[in-house]
Symmetry: C2
Subunit: 231 residues, 2 copies
Amino acid sequence: MISSPHNQHLKTIRKLQDKRHRERTGLFAAEGEDLVDAAGRAGLEAELVLVAEVDVEPELLDAVSTLGSGTRVVGVFRQRFADPGGALSVWLEGVADPGNVGTIIRSAHAFADGPVVLGPGCADPYGPKAVRASMGSIFARPPARAAFEALAGTTVALASGTGAELSEVELVEPVTLCLGAERGGLSPEVLEGASAQARIATRPDGPDSLNVAMAAAVSLHECAHRMAAHA
Amino acid sequence: MISSPHNQHLKTIRKLQDKRHRERTGLFAAEGEDLVDAAGRAGLEAELVLVAEVDVEPELLDAVSTLGSGTRVVGVFRQRFADPGGALSVWLEGVADPGNVGTIIRSAHAFADGPVVLGPGCADPYGPKAVRASMGSIFARPPARAAFEALAGTTVALASGTGAELSEVELVEPVTLCLGAERGGLSPEVLEGASAQARIATRPDGPDSLNVAMAAAVSLHECAHRMAAHA
């Protein structure tokens, strides 16, 4: 039973809150039974698992937790990255909020066969907030990394207020939905380089734009539904 | 210029972080220019607005902010509640996470003409996290409160894994989409009492369930699209 805060395993977990340490080691931490269970279901072996009261004194584990309420279990896993691909996938540009990145990884897990592909300026998908927001989908569906230019097939640039309605856009597989952050949106290069620009139809008296995680969920669901109907 | 932390206005703002104080006074605070601007666009007059460096010393305003980064402006507004109604609306049960409540208020603003109707066990829509997550939609579309039994028209109970696919469910206006929290789901009374049970089609290798805010966005978008096509 670990009873010293200077224990090497605890230090490892704490250091993995730091992005540079995650990059240097290629590891990340997942907190809580749900996430550690999700890793198991995805067939992943942990590099390290610490369970409160079994492996470590509970207050020491709480002290290295990023959760305000502390945690009963922490697993350390090796980061994995997929290749871009699939009949339907998502590419993100400048989505710097880790909660949005994690939520979109989860939505893609629900609706798409391809991964979430991270372009420039995106949050680290293996940071604690992103991992938590993915609700374990990061294990089942590791993200990919690629520049826009590397995408193959139909690229649909989602933008507020411009382009055709998404429901009118032709979807020739493979399809990649391209989304930018709510404020900044996609860069001009992507808007011009994409196969099509599309917008999600919202009410005229609705908000000016949609949160990127909402836009991703809605557009993934719509495209998945249309592509299944034509399959 | 307010220069004392004991100023009555600052105390009011701080106290409004407390749900009981919000209930007692019928007021709430909105932090940040975007939210205060959204109130103005919705035609709402503030009970009180404090602008850093104009009305108050910046560090004193930061001290009563719920944002880690502090804020430049805080407005205090009167809470408003709408009546249930509209051709399309949402009813929530047990959605205790304020971020989800606020996000759903925003999605309803984007896709529905009716309000978000709060059933039992939901977070206060006027708490700081909910207001922030609504991105100002709480001003344009104040929520309603009602028991399930009070809903009129077609009630569609969204549930994971049971019922028909939402795309197959007949939508006779007015339609209320009923959603529960991801874990607890809807109560048996609601599942049995609803006009129809429906599920959002997800991949067989996808996650077991959807976050309630994602489910709300996807189902609102789908129903709005179908109802517009038949209008």
